[in-house]
């Protein structure tokens, strides 16, 4: 297969919750040019931001509502089984957690981009989920471990730190 063919065939599932998470995800779109992208988010009205792309709406959930969390997880698993993406990318929070963990089950490579809102420390979901990502990114240089790649395993999974590679700004 030629490089241009494989590039065309790359399937991406881009996942986020609402508000700033979605706004940050939208700013990554030039990175998806040439791929087949489907979006998953919590607000049906965001469809207007991604015309021409497949678009899946799931319920929102905080970790305090167990039923909503289970429903969200089930819907994300169903979407992953239907979409079979090569790459799952998320800016958080709860939907990104499930998409990233379940994404492994369909053998997708995964990207966690921690929100720029987390200036002083990684987000809670980022600390829980980011270390399972194939590419774990923070948008703050001081939160990345100097000289270590986010996709590297040099320090072992327990001590893994995210990589810094620029911000959504």
């Amino acid at each position: 297969m030629s490089a241009s063919q494989s590039r065309k065939n790359r399937k991406i599932l881009a996942v986020s919750s609402g508000g700033g998470h979605w706004v940050e995800l939208m700013r990554l779109r030039p990175a998806f040019d040439g791929a087949d992208v489907a979006y998953v988010t919590v607000n049906a009205e965001y469809r207007r931001d991604v015309p021409g792309c497949r678009f899946h709406v799931i319920n929102d959930a905080t970790r305090w509502n167990k039923f909503a969390v289970l429903l969200m997880a089930a819907r994300i698993l169903f979407i992953l089984l239907r979409e079979r993406p090569d790459v799952v990318i998320t800016t958080g929070a709860a939907p990104g957690h499930f998409a990233l963990r379940f994404g492994k089950w369909v053998r997708a490579r995964t990207i966690w981009l921690d929100s720029i809102a987390n200036v002083d420390e990684l987000s809670m979901s980022g600390r829980i989920t980011g270390r399972f990502a194939d590419l774990w990114l923070t948008q703050w240089e001081h939160l990345a471990k100097a000289g270590e790649q986010g996709s590297g395993e040099a320090a072992g999974p327990g001590q893994r730190r995210p990589e810094y590679a620029g911000a959504v700004l």
Partner: protein
């Protein structure tokens, strides 16, 4: 119009009340607020709980200045339009968020010349006077930094699956 927005999660009545007091004391009436899931009824300006994305965009574009919580969605939306923005951070001690992440967000974006920040309701009035004459020193392009886009593209399109099982 001055557009006030608190995002779509929890209410932020401390900001709305402070704006209401400022409007009452200055006589400014050209204000519209999006207040979230709150029963608050400002005396001095109209308010709605939620706006559709289209309506939100229209209000942002038409505003001469924006006042908001220190959420990244609000900050990025204002700065891509080049609008003067005053942010006030939500505080966990007041039940406005889970944690105080908006405090350093407000400090960072104000220190870099992107926005004005008021740390609390007492600072809001004085900062409002500044906001009406403020032009952000920096604005934002429509997408993420070229460095981040390039890193993502290289992972998405060039890197091969590592090994399998891991």
């Amino acid at each position: 119009m001055i557009f006030v927005t608190v995002g779509h999660q929890t209410p932020f009545d401390r900001l709305i009340r402070a704006m209401d007091d400022w409007a009452a004391s200055t006589g400014e009436r050209d204000i519209f607020a999006q207040v979230g899931r709150s029963d608050i009824r400002p005396r001095s300006f109209p308010a709605m709980q939620f706006l559709s994305p289209d309506e939100f965009d229209r209000r942002m574009r038409e505003a001469k200045a924006i006042v908001g919580h220190a959420g990244t969605g609000t900050i990025i939306a204002a700065l891509t339009l080049g609008k003067p923005l005053l942010v006030m951070p939500r505080l966990s001690s007041k039940g406005e968020t889970r944690n105080d992440h908006q405090v350093p967000t407000a400090a960072y974006f104000s220190s870099q010349g992107y926005v004005l920040a008021a740390s609390d309701e007492k600072e809001l009035g004085p900062r409002m006077a500044e906001l009406l004459a403020y032009r952000p020193q920096k604005t934002l392009p429509d997408s993420a930094s070229p460095q981040l886009i390039a890193r993502l593209r290289s992972f998405i399109f060039d890197e091969l699956r590592a090994g399998g099982g891991s």
